[in-house]
Symmetry: C2
Subunit: 124 residues, 2 copies
Amino acid sequence: MGGMRRAHHPAIEELSLPEVMAALSDPLRIGLVRVLADGAERGWGELRAPVAKSTLSHHLRVLRDAGVTRTRQEGTRCFVTLRRQDLDERFPGLVGAMLGAADAEDVGGGVHLAPCAGSTAACR
Amino acid sequence: MGGMRRAHHPAIEELSLPEVMAALSDPLRIGLVRVLADGAERGWGELRAPVAKSTLSHHLRVLRDAGVTRTRQEGTRCFVTLRRQDLDERFPGLVGAMLGAADAEDVGGGVHLAPCAGSTAACR
DNA sequence: TAGCTTGTTCGATATTCGACGAACAACGAA
DNA sequence: TTCGTTGTTCGTCGAATATCGAACAAGCTA
């Protein structure tokens, strides 16, 4: 894909509380985190949100730079996961509390997974 | 004091997760919340932060508008409290987790209380 | 090699945010 | 009434953010 020379993923000790809070203060990004909350790895293209492709890319970058998600590249496509364990280690309970509140009021409900034409392993 | 016609305090049901997260994503504001974390009401003038008075007022307004703090006016001065109970009711565990993380890395350490020349009831 | 797919990056806007000093308003005190 | 105190609001600036469409780059595929 594009100029993604190598996505930077901050180490656990580099996670910054204000930066993580800021990353989690946008409805769309909260929606993305909710979609990833079950711990499963999701394909970039599986993610659906009511914004342009470049905007979605931007938000995923903010989450990645803050250390909230991890992006793995395989061939020409990307897979995203929530860094739940790292976050819980550094900021115990924070993500869980945020997710609980977000679910309760359906924050970022516009984000969801592609209808995933229920075939075999196509949807991972 | 100034044009503060009537500070608006959102009701519990009006609290917005993204807005609260945003309010808690600034180091200085996190510092203010930490200072108020013991539940005690603090005088505005007691609060010390390495910014201009107008900037401090701005940050306190952001916290108030988001529903994080409550401001009470008595005569010519203001008293601020953390709306811990309301926040916990709406977003269980969120503030606690944030405070735990903030304490661990001393986020907003530049904010503190005035040396409070240890007299009688002068402090509060 | 030529083309297709998949994300990223590049401008270009429009908006918001943090910070400051100065002016202002409300209240108590002299 | 005239001050002094206490915060808020205003106007301004530079930096950051959200969004979009277009261009681009890296890897499959034909």
